[in-house]
Point group: D3
């Protein structure tokens, strides 16, 4: 008992000393649990009838939607308000004299107005997955089981809030879906319609990457930066991928000025730091691999 | 309030317009939550006493087993029935005049009869992990903590349902365990006894791969396809790995006609698109790596 | 009903026959659920106010801390006692005549005395992430969303119990965080202050690796073994990384005698099995990559 | 195991034999859990901000209300549909050719239109409690803690559905609140504004009782029937209480033709089976009570 | 903090000093939560399909029953074992050399063999309620909403364990249902078929009461003892009620030798301490009640 | 949809109009759920080891206690602060310049210092129940199942807060336990040691009642007021019961100046509005009861 009591005292001291990893008493941050609940609610709004057990029909669909939209709006306003309030501390965000609650309300109203368009785009992603994976047997299979769709769904939402300057929440969203898919898309990335990531584990897409329409990416692909200097944080540091490009597993494409031209095919494990003209195939030449019999 | 109400109307409109990502009113699909609950129940049946907190003993083990088997059977019949009913829509499955409930019941009865055999095979996998990982200190450690065992356990179950032609559920199972281990095994893959995946993140095994007995695979290994054309979906597109093969991390083996012969050792990061004769070692020759002093 | 009843009988038989994957009636093992709950409690103690929704303030912080420390101590003693009792079966651990409960109590008391020091070190990790990732916008963002921080936090805790010889729990902890981050750090690895893993999916760090201060590692890096012979389990099989080293994505460094000297930069995808002198840059020479136009 | 299996068989047999207490396979009934959830939702709509922990404000109040009303409407339609479908079996209810879903929808729409009026009346009940109990210190205390208010709130809701001919649900509601307050009001009773029950345990109010405005009742009061013949079920069997009556604890008033006139005061424990003219006090004359010293 | 720490010390001291209300370290007792869960499970077995939301049908009814019976058996054995072990401490129960687990197992096996008979008797109670309450509109309404049925259902179960000498559990069961209905039946009471309690709040039935078939009781009826001397605890202290008796609300019948003969009708509020011959009506003569006009 | 939307608008209007039953936007009140959780925590502190399933022992008892006391203190301070803040609105409570948080902290610190004394007194209540009920077979049976003990336990806690002038919480506590026992004790009542209520349903004890030591009360007893005028709320309106009194079921004792002297026995159903000298027995003289044969 005594040793534990001493440890408790030491911990409380430690909270004072190293205040930075201790948020007690300051402005509240959005909690991971709240953001996870928000994503779950969103999923039910974006794919109604797919991810739940209750029966939907023409009649109750409207009531379900009204219930969910109102619940989600309420939660989102709360978390967005926390996030922008946090940002006003270091001056990176200003709420104006309407106050941060009004700003949060406005952003969330805008978000719901954008949701039908996000759904339309997600539909192109679903169709891209169906076309792009020989093993996909139905639209429904893609929606209920493809991690690539999970990742792009969350990204399209996170990207909305990133573009509106909301801090923390977009990164929390992208890390939540990173955790459950192994696909790490920075919320800043601009990604066109009909996007498909197959398998996906290990994919990394940087925050200033620009990706056109109808792009397909396999597991382990990195769209990264050449430089990781802190003072270049605001430059475009990640590549541009034009329409109709396919990038096979393990390929690494680096640099903010690197452009992969329309229609390119980037082979597995290639390493690219300079632009590639349209309609080009890049592939690893047979690497030198030794072979010997085990018996020797 | 008004803007939200308008957004609700737009969403409901959007559900009508892009009906395909909206399952309201149609046949129910198995839900992700149900399939996760099924896997959790299965785990308790396959490894009784390992993954729970209640005390098991000779006496209550029988009651526990009867309780769990009956509960799981009930849930499985429900979800399998939903899945096969869904499949009858596009003609890929026919329930006959007994109806889909009877078909589901039959498949589930068969499944439970197969479970003791699945347990026997899983035991060989556990032993393979123990033999194959110098760091493994006990059978128990493997069972309570190895993600490779989690992946192969779920695979052996998903594979049963895949082989019986049940749609959706096998893919949902494989993606659930993909999400928590980073190991992506298509439920169609045929995998022999004493299979061991170490670390595992990034492993991808295609649906027509055939893997023999006593095979060991490290993180980042891909057993993939050379072609991803939709019309080749039914061909054998993924490699065959014979008995006693070891494949080190990051290796990529592609193609349905590629056969890695018995006893081969495939080195880290190698790239293989053609068959390798038995008892062969394939390794990356020292790649050209530059070295320079930072001070210069 | 009859077929199910037969399957139940067969399963119960199977539990007798292949007793090894069935722990009924034997000493209890720590459950995965308990270890997850322990990690969640720890997180609230290490980063108070960050990961929850209740308001913390100067006053209730003390009560929160006392509550959590006492609850966690209680749970930890229980699970540690189970683990060490398990270990006494094969002689790999001896509890002395004080008994395993007293040993568990002692280890847990020591653990809480070490927690403030662990917090101090974690703070250096948070700062390293802030310095090392241009995209990081605040200390708070790192704490609420970086998977690399999640992994090193759990590792520093798991490593404490590993060093005290507690079986199972450290491996369970490392696999739990492996599951949610894709970062696989063996609890035996010795890792210095100011450690940062960016993106992280696919990172593997072996149990006898030694890592200095201020080291930065990207996704897909392996610090592995050259040999996986069971009888070398107790040797140093994984590399040593000295202070101020940066290792880019996909690099593989193998072998217990391999030392990466202070200040080195290891480029993406390189493959190293021998020591590298300090202040050296190692990089993949432009690999031979073919390029051709698709139209041809 | 064998004895249990036999018992299982016997139970399944028993379900067939005494089918009446077994609803398997027939039309579903509303479940007690659903009706409890409906009452909890209603409480949040009737007394917003009183019975929950989340902060309400001008802004989110609208969203909360829309969310709750839509959720409750959805649940109510489901349970009302089950109830009226059940009733059509014995011909006591007919759904017409719109079907029972449409009927349920209509009743629920009407219900929500009536809710503001129900709130208005409940407010008079709250004020009556404040006036009537010297110990009541505030409106808020009545709302958060008075069981009499709980009982009349549920009654006013149950009575709406009773009057619309919905079976089962009104009785389930009245028994749920009977269980938690000891106050048993049949949903058929017609009760005026400003009604107050103090303490309440043991109060019984029959289904054909009529109660005016501003009536106050104490614990243990029965407003019951003289006859309990099954064939008089449809007659008025319970008394009429006019405005401004006060009935003290333990009083029993029986009979459908018994009228307690406006302004009466009915003393504790009296027994009344005939009408009492207005403005009358009825009291128990000093009953013959013996007294003796214990020492004798 | 300091005052709280002192209070914690004082409480721990208090636990040592007044050990009797502190069960730490001794044999475990059945917990209230476990007994409540057991009653909920039982309810699903006794009235399948009535109190839950999942669909039952001919097929899954068997699996449901097997699942529930096995789960309930497991829980019951655990709690019964705790209870009889507790009883062996003061010698009031002996487990023999089979041990208390075997005794618990035997009692529970017997219990399940008795369940079909208990169901048969409960069916007579349901029918009695239907006959006895003019307001009852269907068998289903009685089962889903009548507290009197809840009370007699739990009593018939508690009485089984009471008769087998199991301590604590029967009393816990009767108090749980007392809490939710206001009906307090001691588990020792012997109650015949076709028993009906209407309204029920305040009913008290003592442990040595004997009640015949087809008895009907209203709210507030007491079947109690004349003497409450501790040394008469084992005598018959409560009345005998023969077949076909009806006892109206508030009646008090006391004494172990008091017999209410077959077919009697006992009026409201009467007070009986001596036997009443068969076919007799006892009623309160018009008590002296004063009446005066309020205006005077 | 339209009718529902209109109803939502009407409800929101209704919230504005009848603001009094709507607490949105004002000071928060303690929630019923929080107060229930507080009572559950308290129960675990007052009777450690009795009401839960985890094993307690000498070692973890201290940690359990510290955890619970700190958790409960935290919750209590929150709810007490809400309550006293609420009271400052109408001037019935003043927090001084330390503020309401400091006042709440002080009250809660005092409360925990009083808990060991409350435990000591509760022990006398447990012993009184054991002595007073011939059917009680052990101390443990009383603690796990007697509703009278539940009621007095909660009362002794509620009374502490009542005496400190905390509003709402004491009444909420007393109504919560009223709901589950049917025993309604106003938190203001002063009750001595060794108090026992048997059966209890329908007991009402007013807020200015004074009860000595070693008093025993049966079901349906009322200790009430003669007058219920609002302006006499602060007078002593309920009776005084001296030491060693026993009051049988259904007795009614009214009036603030009524004193039941030491050692009295008050018979069932008697009605008392004047004082009774010590050592007196009061009993209902055989009331006039009619008897007739049914056959006539």
């Amino acid at each position: 008992m005594n040793r534990l009591n001493n440890s408790i005292e030491s911990l409380v001291e430690s909270y004072k000393e190293h205040g930075v990893v201790n948020h007690s008493g300051a402005v509240n941050l959005p909690s991971r649990e709240s953001v996870m609940a928000i994503l779950a609610d969103l999923d039910e709004i974006l794919f109604p009838g797919f991810r739940e057990e209750e029966d939907l029909n023409h009649d109750n669909l409207k009531m379900f939607t009204a219930e969910r939209v109102n619940r989600l709006a309420r939660k989102l306003i709360l978390e967005v308000e926390k996030s922008v309030s946090f940002s006003t501390r270091n001056g990176s965000f200003s709420c104006g004299h309407g106050g941060c609650h009004a700003v949060a309300r406005l952003i969330v109203d805008d978000f719901f107005e954008t949701l039908p368009e996000i759904r339309r785009v997600l539909l192109t992603d679903v169709e891209a997955a169906c076309r792009g994976d020989p093993a996909a047997r139905s639209i429904e299979e893609v929606i209920v089981s493809y991690p690539g769709l999970d990742a792009i769904t969350v990204h399209r939402v996170a990207n909305f809030f990133w573009n509106r300057g909301v801090p923390l929440i977009p990164r929390m969203m992208s890390e939540i879906v990173h955790g459950r898919t192994g696909i790490d898309i920075h919320p800043g990335a601009a990604i066109g319609e009909s996007f498909f990531i197959d398998h996906g584990t290990g994919v990394v897409i940087g925050g200033t990457a620009i990706i056109g329409k109808n792009v397909k990416i396999y597991q382990g692909v990195t769209l990264g930066a050449l430089s990781v200097k802190k003072d270049e944080a605001d430059k475009k540091r990640h590549p541009t991928i034009e329409d109709d490009v396919c990038i096979y597993s393990g390929a690494t494409i680096l640099g903010g000025e690197t452009v992969i031209g329309r229609g390119c095919v980037i082979g597995g494990n290639v390493w690219i730091t300079e632009s590639v003209p349209p309609e080009t195939m890049v592939f690893l030449k047979s690497p030198e691999q030794g072979i010997k019999s085990k018996s020797r």
